[in-house]
């Protein structure tokens, strides 16, 4: 663990990998809930956790260095289920990258338990990890100027769902009617860092029957 000062009020904690970052994030949320740390923002990312709005970053940094971080446990939270039609235009490309038949993409993807590693890019856009490393895919060589809201997509080690229509370079494998972001709802975001997620194939699509 490396603790890097960020201006006068923040710390960036760098971990060895994404799992370690998620474990630290979970522990920081526990400590904040227990009143052990006062911080305005706890922002996990690929392999870091940012703590912003600290009164005394130096003291918190020293505490972090001695922190016992329990490994992530799988039983802590409920699993959020997201219904998906595996009908994305890049299914065949993803199948080719994975070296599996097209119908296998839905089976493998919906058989995986994901975890929201972090959010970013747009309100409610989660970067979900869980797929084994052999299923990483590159971004598309040419990003689309408009990806529809509800698109379920892959890039690198991550799965994401577009909360609204936007440009994007991820590989599209499906669509969901789930509303990822609704600022009139509490909570506004369907996904939040640390949440476990499972994609549930809607009946009648290729791949669903194969389970």
């Amino acid at each position: 663990m490396r603790v890097l000062p960020v201006g006068a009020r923040a710390l960036l904690v760098e971990l060895a990998d994404g799992d370690a970052a998620q474990a630290l994030h979970a522990e920081l949320l526990r400590r904040r809930a227990a009143g052990l740390i006062r911080v305005r923002e706890i922002v996990p990312a690929a392999r870091t956790v940012l703590l912003d709005g600290l009164d005394d970053p130096r003291r918190v940094g020293a505490e972090l260095a001695n922190l016992e971080i329990p490994p992530l446990s799988a039983r802590e939270e409920d699993v959020r289920e997201i219904p998906v039609r595996y009908d994305g235009p890049d299914l065949a490309d993803v199948a080719a990258h994975w070296g599996v038949p097209v119908a296998e993409v839905a089976r493998i993807h919906s058989g995986t338990e994901f975890r929201v590693a972090f959010c970013g890019f747009a309100p409610g856009f989660g970067y979900l990890t869980g797929l084994p490393g052999r299923y990483e895919v590159p971004r598309r060589a040419t990003p689309r100027t408009s990806v529809p809201a509800g698109s379920v997509a892959l890039a690198g080690p991550y799965t994401g769902v577009y909360p609204r229509s936007s440009p994007g370079g991820w590989q599209l494998i499906g669509t969901t009617d789930a509303v990822l972001w609704d600022h009139a709802r509490v909570p506004a975001s369907l996904l939040a860092p640390g949440l476990r997620v499972r994609f549930v194939p809607l009946a009648g699509v290729p791949g669903a029957e194969a389970r």
Partner: protein
């Protein structure tokens, strides 16, 4: 629509609703947003007896004009500019009573960039995540003002007979930004670290509420790797592939994949909000804690 509202007659180059923004949601990808010059926004509110959190208008260079449907007390601070009511000059930086149906015109900034226009009772558009701020990066909050739009006002809660005036610090001819190095200073060459704090930059015309872009010497990377996305703070000096530092302002993305060489003192960011394109910029080491 009640009479507590104003119609937008001239929306100007970019006029948005701003308050203290949406801190606390960065982990969901929600930018903090809020007035770029928070002290000016607070001052405008104080002049019309609003609470500091009331929403105001933030104009950009060209000002704006609105026609209140009710008599309302307004105050304009931030960038100095001519202010008129039905064509007659009124004072900048003091509370002004605007009659129902009169035209309030906030003129082009004489110096600086952003004027803050407070209305007694505050701008009362629907809040999103407890803030009325327009967030230009993520699209949360009300859209920028458009000609013909009708914007609701809140009810004034206190008498506004108090006369007050404000001292004004003119926007500096040179923008001096105190910085502390890090968190990714080690991704740059020693020469780049020296360049940042010894060479002259200028404010780029590509600057906006997301970031103050600069023109000047390119900062060379020591580490060519791709940086995995990491959390970003207000005032972060991010260095994109062209090597010109960008200072993150209120609508900055919550995560980013370019290394942050240094962070600007928060107190210096109001100056960044008021620096017109072409203004010389100096990054000055703020000293280590």
């Amino acid at each position: 629509m009640t009479d507590r509202a104003f119609a937008v007659v001239r929306s100007g180059a970019l006029t948005t609703v701003q308050d203290q923004g949406r801190p606390g949601y960065a982990h969901l990808g929600v930018p903090r947003s809020g007035a770029l010059d928070p002290a000016a926004a607070r001052l405008a509110n104080r002049l019309v007896d609003n609470s500091a959190e009331a929403a105001v208008l933030e104009t950009t260079l060209a000002g704006c004009a609105v026609r209140p449907r009710c008599a309302v007390t307004v105050a304009v601070v931030g960038a100095p500019c001519p202010v008129t009511v039905d064509g007659r000059p009124v004072a900048w930086g003091v509370p002004v009573r605007v009659p129902a149906g009169a035209l309030l015109d906030v003129g082009a900034a004489v110096s600086g960039v952003r004027c803050y226009v407070a209305f007694g009772g505050g701008v009362a558009v629907d809040p999103v995540l407890a803030s009325r701020s327009t967030d230009l990066l993520s699209g949360l909050g009300p859209p920028p003002l458009a000609d013909g739009a009708v914007i609701p006002l809140g009810h004034a809660t206190a008498p506004h007979a108090r006369v007050d005036t404000v001292p004004h610090m003119a926007p500096p001819r040179e923008l001096i930004l105190g910085v502390t190095y890090g968190p990714r200073a080690d991704w740059f060459t020693e020469a780049a670290l020296r360049t940042l704090t010894t060479r002259a930059y200028r404010v780029s015309s590509a600057s906006n509420r997301i970031g103050l872009r600069t023109e000047g010497p390119s900062l060379e990377r020591a580490c060519p790797d791709e940086l995995p996305s990491e959390g970003m703070v207000l005032g972060a000096v991010q260095v994109p592939p062209d090597g010109r530092p960008v200072v993150f302002l209120a609508d900055h993305p919550t995560t980013g994949g370019y290394p942050v060489i240094a962070v600007v003192r928060e107190a210096d960011l109001a100056g960044a909000a008021q620096a017109v394109p072409g203004t010389p910029v100096r990054f000055v080491p703020a000293g280590h804690r």
